[in-house]
Amino acid sequence: MSSKQGGKGAGAGKGKKGAKGGAEEKRDDILQAVIIADSFQDRYAPFSLEKPRCLLPLANTPMIEYTLEFLAMNGVQEVFIYCSSANTDEVEAYIYNSSRWRNGSKISPFSSLEFIRVSDARSIGDFLRDLDKRALISSDFILVHGDLVANVSLDAALAKHRARREANRENCMTVILRSAGEDDHRTKTHGITPHFVVEPSTTRCLHYEETHPLQADHYLTLDPDILEHKEFEIRSDLIDCGIDICTPDVLALWSESFDYELPRKNFLHGVLKDHELNGKFIYTEIVDQGYAARASNLQMYDAISKDILGRWTYPLVPDSNLVLGNSYKMTKNGVCVENGVVIAPNATITESVLGHRSSLGSGSSVSNSIIGDRCKIGKNVRIENSYIWDEVVIEDDTQIYHSVLADAVRVGKKSIIPEGSLLSYGVSIAPGTQLPTDPAARISLKQGDGSPATDDASLVGENGKGADFHESASSDYDSDSEDEDFGTDPSSLQKSLIYSLEGLNISTSSISTLATHTSVDSDEVESQVNALQNADPTKSTTATASRNRLDSLSAFSAFSDDSMTGAFHTDAVNGLLDSLRAEDTDDFDGAKLEFMGLRLANNASDSSMRKAIAVSFAKRAAELTSTLDPAKAAQRALLDKKGAIKFIREVGVGGKEAEQAEFALALQNALVTQVMGKTLEAGKAGTVLAALLQQLYSHDVLEEDGILAWWNDGRAVEGGELMATVRDKCRVLVEWLENADEEESSEEESDDE
């Protein structure tokens, strides 16, 4: 049924395009962008209770400023900002008060900036479905989030995207990713690791999946079809900055699947998985120049702030004063100060930012920190790696390490704020208080549901203000709670400032790193896969508390595979081949039974069965070519054994056009592989394929549409000219099919008899 939808959706998509075709060309020079200004997450809790995430200060600048600047930097003309009713007002107010961005402002770099309010939105998906309805989008547009900090130039990516889109309307989306290298990198997301399966030759994205240390098994399940690709990489070294270049079809896709909520976990993963249904292609643009990251949680907030201090985001640095009215100056020791700061002569400050009219008392030291406007910092205060927002008061002799203090927080004398503390708006810590270390405190004046919290003197001291923050019952987070319910939700890993897996019971099996294997000799591969299957999971390397990641750049042979399906494939192919080769009997039912058994044992997907079958017959045919001419070989391979054809028809293919195409493609791939495995001369491969297809056609296994669908399928020509040449050999057949009529075909048959 989902397939139907797919069909409809695709159709709708096409229709829309057709309709807009003209307009599109005209408006191609107008670049549009959509900002998702609401994440529907609470990873910034408790701060996000008071202010929408995209307005929270990052290096003393509201995040959305970076996002808008990025769009301006890339010449975007029209901007649509999506907010949920929850916080539209605030965001809108902010934009409205900014003489730079306000819609229609003389000095705005954008020709238009519109807010779209979706009252009942529950997820980003809802936004995009809504956007689809509105049909505001005329052509390629850039989809970003309100917490994006980036300086990458999109020109190249846009050009490529456009070129691809013009080549094939189904190429609907390009995902911008920043490579971040092998090693641990502060700017990679912790906890949840995205894995992109990419075909290097085309940069096409084949598969997307997220893993996190809390999940029981650390396997990526790759759709076997992926393995049809001669080469692909599993990239987990990437920073996903959430920049997508989309054609309007993308919105159509969202609409088709009403249940998608998240652009990656649901949409990207889903669309790629159902590729056969929607026929859409998604590509990646992996940049290694420039900066791009999302402050999607506090850890990223931390990392990006550090990157800004380290000028990795240049020119998005405080002393560029991109925000109207700022006048930061870069001074010695990487210190950036606004006008009117007061730094006592013997106060030391390094690698930090100090906001407008903030003061630093004598004997105090600030390092690797960002301090907002109008903060009062007393004498002999020590601040390290911390983020102090506006109008914070810190009294003498207090120490603050790696914490976030929101606006108007007040910390009394001789207090200690240890690593990871989060002090939300207006919290006040009484003098001489030492906040807890493990777990670090998250103090707020409000509770998760927004209701005021009753001050907890035991935490914030006598007549301090604020209490330990509890999230609304819906997503209860409490670091004291047992590991189980803590462990269930990976996002909980990202709710703290400091990433740590301590105290979590994490299964020690790492993401299975599949053997790298460049040769394509199928037999070799099969043995390879067997080896994988036999590998005892407990033997697999144990995860440290740090991230587990696949070796980011291992080239995969078309046949190496995630152990499960891989195993099935091997056994199945071997089984089938044996019975096909068998001299004594010409019965195929035994093989069929065995096969079905295997299938159940491994609950192999249809596609993997399809592939197995295709491969075995292709191989058989290939073997036979050594003695016979291709045509005969194909015929013998298919017909020697009674029921083989039937088996293929029932198990291997199936009625649908798409499935038939897949089978054809599988055959093609298999033969090509044979050629590469030197078990079949290149010349013959094509003819064999042609012969096979023809046979299958004449035995009603494949129908005209199926074969034609395969013929027109992009993948049939992807991956080397070998594929192409092999395919070409079938041109005659195809042409013949296209204007086929009964007699001819029957004649053909009779000839074969």
Partner: protein, 426 residues
């Protein structure tokens, strides 16, 4: 398809295109944003963009008398300079335009001879410099041999000064006292038409823009004098200016050019391809020295050529990072260091006045962001530009000709009015 080829990202050309239709404010802010985002950078581009915007100010901004016009130019100018504090040429262009206005204004006033004792003072102050800019603007017109500025304007530039202890009036006070004498520095329009002034000033600004576009050619005009047969010329990170210079020399002289790319360019050996090609065409041998350091080569080098981002009043220059090292090495082997710079890059600021001339650029320019440990642990400081102390430079070649350090004062005097020297501090 067009936008595709050009790309969407804004840049100087795109900006200039927009100027026509836009409101002045929009243009100003537009430029400011581009400057801040470094999407317009480099002396030439900044100078040109500034001139264009100031032209808009004169043409579009609302003003009825010279004081207002000056104020408007100063206001916009100040915003631009603050947008890119390290692009000193912006300030220069603003000063040039201010001076221009003052000249035109005073001429206007002389036209109708109200030359009373009162504002007569200003005549003398302004007349001679105006003569000066006359000569220099004369030299700005295209022509093989621009006239070298005479001493007179320089003298007149200071003549006001020595006596002002005893003089009847001096600007310092006239600013404070609201008497009509204030006209001395910014004469109030009595009955001369603003429109006339406007067109005059606009012409002047266009002349400045001509000067910008012709500077390189004029500088190149002095090449063959400085470069001799058999020389080994080390050109540090040659710019368009240097390229013209060398190529021109190549047409007359047979020398060897060592192209010094202080840092690996993304283009690799292909960098400076056009320069190499042109020189090769002229039969000049080029060696592309792929090194960060040059002390090793200097014994063989006969002259070092540095392109300047800006030349400061005391002769120090701001140049690409690494230039100071080359200059030092040159001094070590006492080889002359020649700085190429259009006059418009000559700033009245003194090296000690300039707010920290070392611009820290993009850390990822040379350090891969993909190197997690490095990114996290190490304070990367990649200097885009740095200050080459005055004592390391031997000669400056501008579109007016070759100069020594002591000369710079005169040129400054020719091009900037005393009143504007302090811009934008005032």
């Amino acid at each position: 398809m067009a936008p595709l080829l050009a790309g969407y990202a804004p840049n100087l050309e795109k900006f200039l295109k927009t100027l026509k239709g836009q409101s002045l404010e929009a243009s100003t802010e537009g430029l400011i944003a581009l400057l801040k985002r470094r999407q317009i950078r480099g002396a030439e581009a900044c100078a040109f963009a500034t001139a264009r915007v100031l032209l808009q100010v004169v043409a579009k901004s609302k003003w009825t008398d010279v004081d207002q016009l000056l104020a408007n130019v100063q206001k916009v100018g100040a915003r631009l300079t603050h947008a890119a504090p390290r692009e000193l040429v912006i300030g220069n262009i603003v000063r040039r335009v201010l001076g221009l206005i003052r000249d035109e204004a005073s001429e206007e006033r002389n036209a109708d001879n109200e030359g009373s004792l009162m504002d007569s003072v200003s005549d003398l102050q302004t007349l001679q410099p105006s003569a000066a800019t006359a000569t220099s603007s004369g030299s700005q017109r295209p022509g093989p041999n621009p006239i070298k500025p005479t001493l007179t304007p320089a003298a007149s530039f200071v003549s006001k000064s020595l006596f002002n202890l005893l003089s009847v009036v001096d600007p310092a006070e006239s600013f404070t006292t609201g008497s009509p004498v204030t006209g001395s520095s910014t004469p109030i329009q009595q009955n001369s038409s603003a429109t006339a002034l406007k067109s005059e000033v606009i012409d002047g600004i266009e002349e400045i823009m001509d000067e910008l576009s012709q500077a390189d050619d004029q500088i190149a005009g002095f090449a063959d004098v400085q470069i001799h047969p058999g020389d080994h010329i080390l050109a540090y990170q040659p710019t368009a200016t240097v390229e013209k210079f060398l190529v021109r020399a190549a047409s007359k002289r047979h020398f060897t050019a060592l192209i010094a790319s202080g840092t690996p360019s993304p283009k690799g050996p292909e960098a400076y391809a056009s320069l190499k090609k042109k020189l090769a065409a002229a039969g000049v041998r080029t060696v592309h020295v792929m090194s960060g350091s040059y002390a090793a080569y200097l014994p063989k080098v006969s002259k070092v050529i540095l392109p300047a981002h800006a030349v400061l009043a005391n002769g120090a220059i701001i140049a690409d990072g690494g230039a100071a090292c080359v200059a030092r090495a040159a001094r070590e082997y006492s080889k002359p260091v020649i700085v190429l710079s259009g006059v418009y890059k000559l700033c009245p600021e003194n090296s000690s006045e300039v707010e920290d001339p070392i611009e820290l650029g993009d850390s990822s320019a040379y350090v891969p962001f993909t190197d997690g440990p490095l990114v996290d642990g190490v304070d990367v400081e990649s200097a885009v530009s740095e200050l080459v102390p005055a004592d390391l430079v031997d000669m400056y070649i501008t579109n007016l000709g070759p100069h020594t350090r002591d000369h710079l004062d005169d040129i400054l005097a020719d091009h900037y009015k005393v009143e504007d020297i302090d811009f934008p501090l005032q």
